[in-house]
């Protein structure tokens, strides 16, 4: 795997740290719900799923 593509994964990690922590996570700190899932959980699961998809794409395309 090339350095450049490795860096994509490092940036994904940094992104996850930022998006899954305060203060960003406080944006979704509400007791409303999406399809019965509280917004905070829905947001965390969404970010989680996106990270799986990005990792999958980067790994399959470049590794």
């Amino acid at each position: 795997m090339k350095k450049r593509h490795q860096q994509k994964l490092v940036i994904l990690s940094i992104g996850l740290i930022l998006f899954l922590n305060i203060p960003i996570i406080f944006i979704f700190n509400s007791d409303a719900s999406v399809l019965g899932i509280p917004v905070l959980y829905a947001y965390v699961f969404f970010v989680w799923l996106v990270s799986v998809i990005i990792t999958y794409t980067v790994i399959n395309r470049y590794a």
Binding site: Q6, G36, L40, Y41, T55
Partner: protein
């Protein structure tokens, strides 16, 4: 459900696992066992009973914080391929068999670091294993609805613990080399990972869609309850600080927990498997977590509040009267317990034997015995450790009967394990990190953890009414273990994690820059930090100076590996480096190789002890280390270059061979040419000679006949003259000796001259000649030569067109700086198979004429040479169907 039925099911389930393990051990090479999915799923040993039961408990009581345990790994997994590839490569190269081995290797095979890491791991993981047994025991009681047993002999958990110990001993200690892969064990872990996930998903779907009408239904009911906000949101900033530290904690745990290191590094069979794991594992965790909140809320809605929320997953189906579903949940929980206990016990027992027992004391005993005994002894040490660990955990659980929830014990284990983080992570990327600093950091961090977590816990258990926690030791408020130095807004675990990391990290960094490690340590640091660039050096990557005798090293090896394996290993080694096996003195590579060989069996620290007892080592300074490494690297790259060069040489010699072949072929062609020339010259000469002889001998010949003979002689002589002119022409043209008389001419004039030259002949044969000149272009050329080309083409056409209906068409067109002329006729054309030969010397079409060739067969060859000397071309149009068409192209620009 009666207890004996459950016990039967458990025994059945364990036998199934044994069978799967044995099958996988036999098929360790098959694609079912050796594949990236098995690796990715085996990482899910991370999901212990804590995940299976504990998450629901937390979700039901304190909300979102259960997610932090999984978000750390989610953040870590994109980095997996980058960090773990390095760790796996080093571990494979140095036969590392545990995290303790790895960290002690990084700090120069340091014996005491290995021991400290081992102790840390045992202290952290033993209560954690106890916790798993507690989960089994409690769920067993819930399921069987029986009275809790009071004696060990009637407690089913004890027997389950013993069975697990047998399982680990059977699959984990088959060879004394702990760095060998255990396919059977890993495969069962992967199978259990699938089972526990599937069972958990089934119960989730059952709760959401069978007991309730989907997620919205549960949400609507639970949000009507009091205190719901606490479950779905952060209630204050403090809880989000907690969230932040908890994620960091689980981030460390996924790399450092002994069981994780075991499956992700030691049991890794190929670095390519890391790729799949980096997306499969987070996906697995996601699936495991989506239903947690709904099960927790359903439990809150359906069950009475005095039940332990940790076991809602089990209580729900039982309360609904679905016994079988309850049994399934129990088996899922059992799966997560088994895999966790088995892998942890294996990892810890290896650490205990290789980093504690063997290097401290046992090594002397091993040094005196024969190989069979040693291998057996090492295996026995490990087996005993496994039993002591699991049974020890059982007694820990029974005696402390832990009041804390699953979640908090798990977290305490995480905090203790996290003490390895600075030494591990920074050590991977920073070569200054030194052994003394690692030791100091780990010790300082551990003391802080002990003070802020263990002491209050022990205090509560053993001393009634102690004021130690509430008022601090001797009433000093600043030293209150849960509010050290007055920081009072963090929960105990976060607080302990924070302070222990502060001390650990600062000690590690400061000691690293203040005290310099010895040369050996720096050597290893260099190798680990630059693993990718020194990886290919293999044995060459070892910097060592001193004296050692092969015989003594061999003796040390034989003691642990046996005669056969030692001989085989050394044989491979000598062949690989092309060394003389008779050499008495050992070189650095042999020393390094032997140390690696021993590491798998007795651990890094003991291997170092073993080897250094037979060699006399001299220190090397860091610049020297770097210089030697660099030199070795250069030697290897020089070797590669040499290989490349020899490859290039081979290619060159191949090309020369080809050229030689071509030359030989040319030579042959030249011979053929001479033969043909001689033959062509001989025919008219012989004819002239024969005719002249007849004329000389026979005086009475009739006059007409004599005249005819004389005409023949003249014709043949002419033919000879033409031939010789042609040969000379061709020779001059092809060797470039012909001097062209190039001048400005009008192309049209030259063309008209050429046509005039053959006009009489054409008239005789009744051939029609058309000229279509588009423009009157003026070019620079040797008119005589170009005339020769045109005449040749025209007379060729004339030869082949039919009498009376024959047509020859000449067209001229200008394309950019090129004048293109085409000469086409309606003759019989050129046979396809002859197309590529017509420009060769003496070419005469096969079916042209059997009796006597028309012309010398050199016309086209000469014409082409002439055109080439004018920087033009002469080609034949291979597409043209109704006769032959030749294309003459000339450049207008220059020549």
């Amino acid at each position: 459900m009666p207890s004996y039925a459950i016990i039967l099911v458990i025994i059945g389930y364990l036998s199934l696992l044994f069978a799967v393990g044995i099958w996988a051990d036999r098929k360790s090479k098959s694609k079912w066992v050796h594949n990236p999915w098995v690796y990715a799923l085996s990482l899910a040993v991370y999901c212990s009973a804590w995940t299976y039961y504990g998450s629901v408990g937390i979700a039901a009581t304190s909300g979102v914080s259960f997610l932090t345990t999984y978000l750390g790994p989610v953040i870590a997994l994109p980095l997996w391929i980058i960090i773990m590839k390095r760790v796996v490569l080093i571990s494979k190269q140095y036969q590392v068999s545990s995290i303790a081995d790895f960290i002690s290797l990084r700090y120069g095979n340091n014996r005491s670091i290995g021991a400290i890491v081992t102790v840390i791991c045992v202290v952290a993981v033993l209560p954690y294993i106890a916790l798993q047994l507690k989960a089994v025991s409690e769920t067993f009681d819930i399921l069987s609805d029986g009275v809790k047993s009071t004696s060990i002999l009637t407690d089913s958990t004890f027997y389950i613990a013993v069975l697990l110990a047998v399982f680990v001993a059977l699959f984990g200690t088959q060879t004394s080399d702990a760095s060998r892969r255990r396919s059977g064990l890993v495969f069962t872990v992967a199978v259990e990972s699938v089972l526990k996930l599937v069972f958990f998903l089934i119960i989730g779907i059952y709760v959401i869609f069978y007991l309730f009408n989907g997620t919205t239904d549960i949400y609507n009911q639970i949000s009507a309850l009091d205190g719901f906000e606490e479950l779905a949101t952060f209630t204050n900033i403090e809880s989000s600080i907690n969230w932040y530290f908890m994620i960091a904690l689980s981030f460390f745990a996924i790399f450092l927990l002994p069981r994780q290191f075991q499956v992700s590094v030691v049991e890794n069979t190929s670095t390519s498997h890391l790729k799949k794991a980096s997306w499969v594992f987070p996906l697995y965790l996601l699936l495991f977590n989506v239903f947690v909140i709904f099960i927790a809320w359903a439990g809150k809605l359906l069950l009475s509040s005095d039940l332990n929320p940790d076991y809602y997953t089990l209580y729900i189906p039982l309360q609904q009267g679905h016994q079988l579903l309850g049994l399934m949940v129990f088996l899922g929980g059992l799966s997560s317990v088994i895999s966790m206990v088995v892998v942890s016990a294996l990892a810890l027992s290896t650490m205990i034997s290789n980093n504690l027992i063997i290097p401290y004391g046992f090594i002397k005993l091993l040094n005196k015995s024969n190989p069979e005994d040693n291998a057996q002894r090492i295996k026995n040490v490990r087996r005993v450790s496994i039993f002591i660990l699991i049974i020890g955990a059982y007694f820990f659980y029974v005696n402390f009967n832990i009041e804390l929830s699953l979640f908090s014990i798990g977290l305490i284990a995480f905090v203790i394990i996290a003490q390895l983080a600075p030494a591990f992570f920074i050590g991977l990327f920073w070569n200054r990190g030194s052994a003394i600093a690692a030791k100091m950091g780990i010790l300082a961090g551990s003391i802080v953890t002990f003070y802020t977590l263990a002491i209050p816990f022990l205090n509560e258990v053993f001393i009634d009414g102690s004021t130690f926690v509430s008022e601090g030791p001797a009433g000093i408020a600043l030293l209150k273990p849960y509010q050290l130095f007055g920081i009072d807004f963090m929960p105990p675990v976060t607080h302990a994690f924070f302070w222990s990391m502060v001390f650990n990290l600062m000690f590690y960094l400061i000691f690293s820059v203040v005290f310099k490690g010895n040369y050996r340590e720096r050597n290893y640091a260099e190798l680990v930090v630059n693993a990718s660039s020194y990886g290919e050096l293999e044995e060459n990557a070892f910097v060592w100076r001193g004296e050692a005798y092969v015989a003594e090293i061999k003796k040390a090896l034989v003691r642990f590996l046996g005669e056969k394996r030692t001989a085989r290993a050394l044989d491979i080694f000598y062949r690989k480096y092309e060394l003389n096996p008779q050499e008495e003195k050992a070189d650095a590579r042999l020393v390094n190789f032997s140390e690696k060989l021993l590491t798998g069996s007795i651990g890094a620290a003991s291997a170092k002890l073993m080897i250094s007892s037979v060699v006399k080592e001299q220190p090397v300074t860091l610049p020297e280390v770097l210089k030697i490494l660099e030199e070795n690297k250069e030697t290897i790259s020089a070797n590669k270059q040499l290989q490349q060069q020899s490859h290039d040489l081979k290619r060159l010699s191949d090309r020369l061979k080809d050229a030689n072949l071509a030359l030989v072929e040319k030579d042959r062609q030249k011979d053929e040419f001479l033969d043909t020339v001689a033959h062509e010259l001989k025919t008219p000469t012989a004819s002239i000679r024969a005719t002249s002889e007849i004329l000389a001998d026979d005086d009475d010949m009739p006059k007409e006949l004599k005249q005819k003979f004389l005409n023949n002689i003249v014709n043949d002589a002419d033919r000879l003259a033409v031939l010789i002119t042609n040969i000379l022409d061709l020779e001059k043209l092809s060797s470039g000796r012909d001097i062209m008389d190039k001048k400005q001419h009008l192309l049209k004039d030259t063309l008209v001259k050429a046509v005039d030259g053959i006009y009489q002949l054409a008239l005789q044969k009744g051939v029609h000649i058309e000229i279509e000149t588009v423009e009157n272009v003026s070019l620079i050329y040797d008119e005589d030569r170009i005339l020769q080309v045109f005449t040749n083409l025209l007379s060729n056409s004339l030869k082949f067109v039919p009498e009376n209906t024959g047509t020859i068409k000449i067209q001229t067109q200008q394309y950019g700086d090129e004048i293109v002329m085409s000469f086409e006729d309606n003759g019989k054309g050129i046979p396809q198979e002859d197309m590529q030969y017509i420009f060769e010397k003496f070419y005469q079409s096969n079916n042209q004429n059997i009796k006597k060739p028309i012309g010398s067969g050199m016309g086209l060859a000469i014409s082409r040479h002439i055109m080439e000397n004018h920087n033009g071309t002469l080609t034949v149009d291979e597409e043209f169907q109704n006769g032959a068409r030749f294309i003459v192209a000339l450049k207008t620009g220059g020549l």
